[in-house]
Each structure stands twice: as structure tokens, then as C-alpha cells.
């Protein structure tokens, strides 16, 4: 089904916001976690570490600006093992995963999300999440996540 889906594109050839079958229902969205203070902040005890809600944010939510993700379904269809696939670069220290259905639970009237594919030459399973995600929505998303690849000593939420 996902292979037959034609990604809508703009005049520059960039994907337009859309919902892709790779992100239907129980199919899962992967978000890679970067260390070095990019996605990880101090926890409440001032010692431990947790993921920042910024991991699901983009401060310029235009059709060309989105939050990057990976499609677990695409990775499996291509014959790869999801955890190994996303752990391909030392810049990443972990990856969180949630179903597309649970991601849509944070949609609000007037603030829809689109979850589609944005294939890149180096990552054909690269996806995009379009739409404004504020702190409360991002924290709700984190609560719906589990580890695909656990970042050592990091909590998803507190």
C-alpha cells in the first residue's frame, strides 16, 4: 500500500504536508535522540537527565519546515531492523517511538498534524511531522513514547 502511494509535491519537488499510509493507525513514528544538550536537559532532581519537549518542536511551522522522523513501517518493508537502522550515526544516542494513532491524540481543533514521508537520498524512510506542537502537546507525545533504542541514563518523561 505504502509503495503505491504517490507523495504530493510542490513546484520545487518538495513533499507537501500530507498523511502517508506508513503512518496509519498502529504504525509507528520514530524520533531519534541527540545528546550534547540538543535534545536532553536536566531532570527535576538536578542530576538525572530527561528528554526536552523541544524534540517535537519546530519554531517555523511552514510547509517546508517540519519535525523529522523515521517510518518504522518503511524500514521494515525495506528489510532493515529498525533499531540498527536509526543507530547508523554516532551523533544519535537513542530513539523514541510511538504509534501514529497516539500521536494524533494531541491534535486539537484548528491545530491538525500531518504525518507523511519526505524521502532523502541518504534516508529513504525519512518522514515529516507538520503542524504546530507546543509544550503541552509535546509533553503529551513524550508520555506516549517508549524507547526503541534507550539512551543511557535518560528518562523520556518524569
Amino acid at each position: 500500500v505504502s509503495a503505491a502511494f504517490e507523495i504530493p509535491r510542490d513546484e520545487r519537488g518538495h513533499p507537501k504536508p500530507h498523511d502517508h499510509p506508513n503512518f496509519d493507525g498502529q504504525k509507528r513514528v520514530i524520533r531519534r535522540v541527540e545528546d550534547n544538550g540538543v535534545h536532553i536537559v536536566l531532570a527535576k532532581d538536578g542530576v538525572g537527565r530527561r528528554i526536552s519537549s523541544a524534540i517535537f518542536k519546530n519554531t517555523k511551522p511552514t510547509p517546508h519546515d517540519y519535525v523529522s522522523c523515521d517510518s518504522e513501517n518503511c524500514i521494515i518493508e525495506r528489510g532493515f531492523e529498525p533499531k540498527s537502522y536509526v543507530a547508523d550515526n554516532p551523533k544519535w544516542c537513542g530513539a523514541i517511538i510511538l504509534t501514529a494513532e497516539s500521536m494524533r491524540l494531541v491534535e486539537r481543533e484548528g491545530h491538525p498534524l500531518s504525518i507523511g514521508m519526505w524521502p532523502l537520498p541518504e534516508n529513504h524512510c525519512h518522514g515529516a511531522i507538520w503542524g504546530k506542537i507546543n509544550s503541552s502537546r509535546a509533553i503529551e507525545l513524550l508520555r506516549n513514547c517508549e524507547w526503541l533504542w534507550e539512551a543511557e541514563g535518560v528518562r523520556i518523561v518524569e
Binding site: G37, V38, V41, A54, T59, P61
Partner: protein, 145 residues
Amino acid sequence: MSFNTYTTQALDQRPNVNVQTAGSITMFSVHDWDSVVRNRLAQIGALPQGWDGYGSERIGEDVRWFALQILYSSMTKDQMAPSIVPIAGGGIQLEWHTFKGDIELEISRPNQTELYVAFEDDRPIIEMPLSTDFSELTKALREIA
């Protein structure tokens, strides 16, 4: 401090110094968190184009400078330094997490921010845009940080 007239003074200039005069004695004090915050903002400013692995733009000096100005106007010298993280699209987020609650300030660009405050008790979550008046942040910091 007015946030309508912020300047783009370089972040690597001398730390912000409070000057107080008592009789003939002039006292200077630097915020405890000053160097931590400046170093962190400098690190974020050094992130290259595509720092998130997917082509995200660099975090501009105007955004970093605005963040610093907000902190100087909202925090006391002995409050805890925030965690500071970049956001895809060129923004910054300031975060304080303690057992009293959570504060997050998303700065998209100068004068365009969004405050999130969740107290540990059953008070409702505060989520509001802020542009020039950061008194709600100051109030939350007094309780949480």
C-alpha cells in the same frame, strides 16, 4: 527593561553587571548563572547549519541575545540556570524542572515566545504567548526555580 528596543550587542561582550551605589562605595555583582548561560548560548550559536541532522538552520544571534535579555530581566542572581536547547527552525527553549514544577519558554524569534508552566500541585497549567511583558515568567521562576 523594554523588549521593544532590544539591541544585538555581541554575546561575548562583558557579563551583565549590576551596579549599586551605597554612599561613596560602588558595588558590582554578576549573576551566579551568567557564565553558564553565556557559555551555553555560545555553544548553541556554534551549531552548524543542519545541526539536527536534517538541514535545520543555525540559531541566530538575535534569538540568543533576546534569550539573555529575558533572563536578566526575569531572574534573580541566585536562581538556577535554565537548561537551554535549540529548536528546529532557528529557535531556543529555556527550561527549569524542579520538584516544585516545570517552566518552559519557547523563543521562536525576538518578541515571539510561548510560556508553559506546570506546578506540582493541582493548579491549572499556564500556556500563553509572551512578547514584551515577561512578568508571568518572573512569577513562575520565583515559585519554581
